[in-house]
Symmetry: C2
Subunit: 366 residues, 2 copies
């Protein structure tokens, strides 16, 4: 699967060939429920490249199912969610349903003894979060999340490794800038309704907050300030095309993130995602999806330390260890791929930032 | 004067040859008092290239005066501040004295009928600001400020022009990242004492806030959050090597700025200053002093709009119109080069952010 240089959705680079299978054939079967967001393809690609098999798919919309079968030919199609949830061989249920429905499905999946793998955001309300958290404790099942910008971008994987290896000393700050292309005419109705997607900081920003927690090594953080606004979509007054937030981690490190739907059409990628990690002994910049006016491909990492300036192209160098680790975690009940604590903490902080955000009056912009 | 690729201070590119003289020979004489910061050279270069003449210099330290005479040979040396302030031919007094002393000097200069040109920050306390503001009103004199990162960087001048021309639509956000090389061993004692320099947001951040006001076209703004910390200099516990702030402008636009003294020694410039301006129809990024691992020189502007991705090298293209305009302003009592309102508003907001900043515990950093 090749990355598209432009268009709406980011199709992660395939790691096939560089990824070691994490399990034997038939050992890890997943069921798919809910194809509303294209991220489901990245989720299934990651898991199947690591040895998993898509054993069954369900969506009420036959058009979406048909499209899915083109990417995963021969997948048995279930007649209901229950058929997937009751299947004894399925160990994990993956879903990119409309965000507001992800938690309910995950709770049912866990209560049926399955682990769960939700597209981000994993939920859209505090009540959903608390119930999901409780059910993970009650059932011992995992509610993992596809925070793709960290786990499914090789430059992000490289950044995480370099930070861990001490390349920039202790992490002082993470700045994450995440513009997205709106392509409003191609979007479903739920895209512009915050009761469906949770607001821009929940929907996109949970990504950035999760990265902040991982790169700083934080267990917890505090939202210092946040803002949301609608600068360009007056026909959908409740939609948010801009959000930002500042956070302070329990490690002492600080973060700033911006998320938006203002990516201009002239960019040869769906968004010019950037991350700056400032350390006590150097800093790095990740240009995730493009290097503007220089390279239409992504996965660029620039590192400056005491010795000099360094450039790394991470494409094909790191793979995506998350997926194989998640499979082993599910099989062995460990938590190496991810931390259940952090998966929930990221969305909890996103909900904090969303709920308390200052509402910007985008229509007043001069 | 050539820009140094590394080192402590940024020596702006000369605009000689591209800059039209703004006045006749002998028409605009300036007196220089206070050579504590190297910015005085940029200030005097800018004004002399635009037609001004350095008519007299004073500093209590003969070593600093001697160094100044190497750059501006033959300048008459005054025996006291008063000798400069009482000189009838001097129209403007320029100063890069220790920040805490800049306001007092400026007030005296204005009371002597001179315009004033202070290095940034123009003052360090609210009381100084209010007195300076009052004296500009009482005397009708100007208290202009060398906010060099906007007025003395050609890529910044180009950004301002492109924004004015509508290249990115209306301005939604400005992100300004301003790392600086500390070079602690080369710094005077006042550098580490916040009572002398006003704190990192006042000292450096007044720059970033001034840029925010100019690029958004704001008259006023509100500080939403701010933080300061000391992550790497435990031997000077009151020193601040990190600061950041979020602001919301009266235009509806928003801003984020980070300032720090953590620029790693391996960078081939004193700081990797970056600015991102997000508009409703595009965005631009300015790489002011270097393009990491690509070009040791600065003045890079990347622009993405609806049509495509564009790269501009601003060096030698824009010049520094501020200085000639300031001279004309002083001669004609207009305010085209700068706005007295904005010069004071920038430091007022910096004082707000500094006073209310959350104090980060840098020693706790894991």
């Amino acid at each position: 699967m090749q990355k598209k240089a432009s268009g709406m959705n980011y199709a992660p680079r395939s790691a096939e060939g560089t990824t070691r299978k994490a399990c034997a054939r038939g050992e890890f079967q997943l069921g798919v429920i809910g194809l509303d967001h294209g991220h489901i393809y990245g989720m299934c690609n990651g898991l199947t490249e690591a040895g998993g098999e898509v054993a069954m798919v369900y969506d009420p919309d036959p058009v979406k199912v048909e499209a899915f079968l083109k990417a995963f030919p021969g997948t048995p199609v279930a007649r209901s969610e229950d058929e997937v949830l009751q299947d004894k061989d399925i160990r994990l249920v993956a879903s990119a349903a409309v965000p507001v429905r992800r938690a309910e499905l995950g709770i049912r999946a866990m209560e049926c003894g399955k682990d769960y793998f939700a597209d981000k955001p994993p939920c859209t309300t505090r009540d959903q979060l608390e119930r999901a958290r409780r059910v993970t404790q009650e059932t011992g099942r995992f509610y993992s999340v596809y925070y793709s910008e960290r786990i499914h971008v090789e430059a992000s994987v490289m950044a995480e490794r370099l930070i861990r290896e001490g390349a920039i000393g202790r992490v002082v700050q993470v700045i994450n800038i995440a513009p997205h292309r709106m392509s409003l005419e191609q979007r479903p109705d739920w895209f512009v309704d915050p009761t469906q997607y949770g607001g821009i900081i929940v929907d996109i920003g949970s990504h950035q907050i999760e990265q902040f927690l991982y790169y700083t090594g934080a267990r917890d953080a505090q939202v210092e300030s946040s803002r949301v606004g609608n600068f360009t979509v007056p026909q959908h007054p409740r939609f948010e095309d801009f959000g930002d937030a500042t956070l302070t981690a329990d490690t002492g490190a600080v973060g700033y993130m911006r998320v938006d739907w203002l990516n201009p059409d002239g960019l040869g990628a769906w968004g010019d995602g950037r991350m700056f990690v400032l350390g006590t002994e150097g800093y790095m910049e990740v240009r995730k999806y493009i290097d503007v006016a220089r390279d239409p491909e992504g996965d660029h990492l620039y590192l400056v330390d005491r010795q000099g300036e360094h450039y790394f192209n991470a494409a094909g160098k790191e793979g995506f260890p998350f997926f194989g680790n998640l499979i082993r975690d599910c099989l062995e009940r460990t938590q190496t791929a991810y931390s259940q604590h952090t998966a929930f903490k990221a969305i909890e902080l996103a909900l904090d930032a969303q709920e308390n955000a200052r509402k910007l009056d985008g229509t007043a912009l001069r």
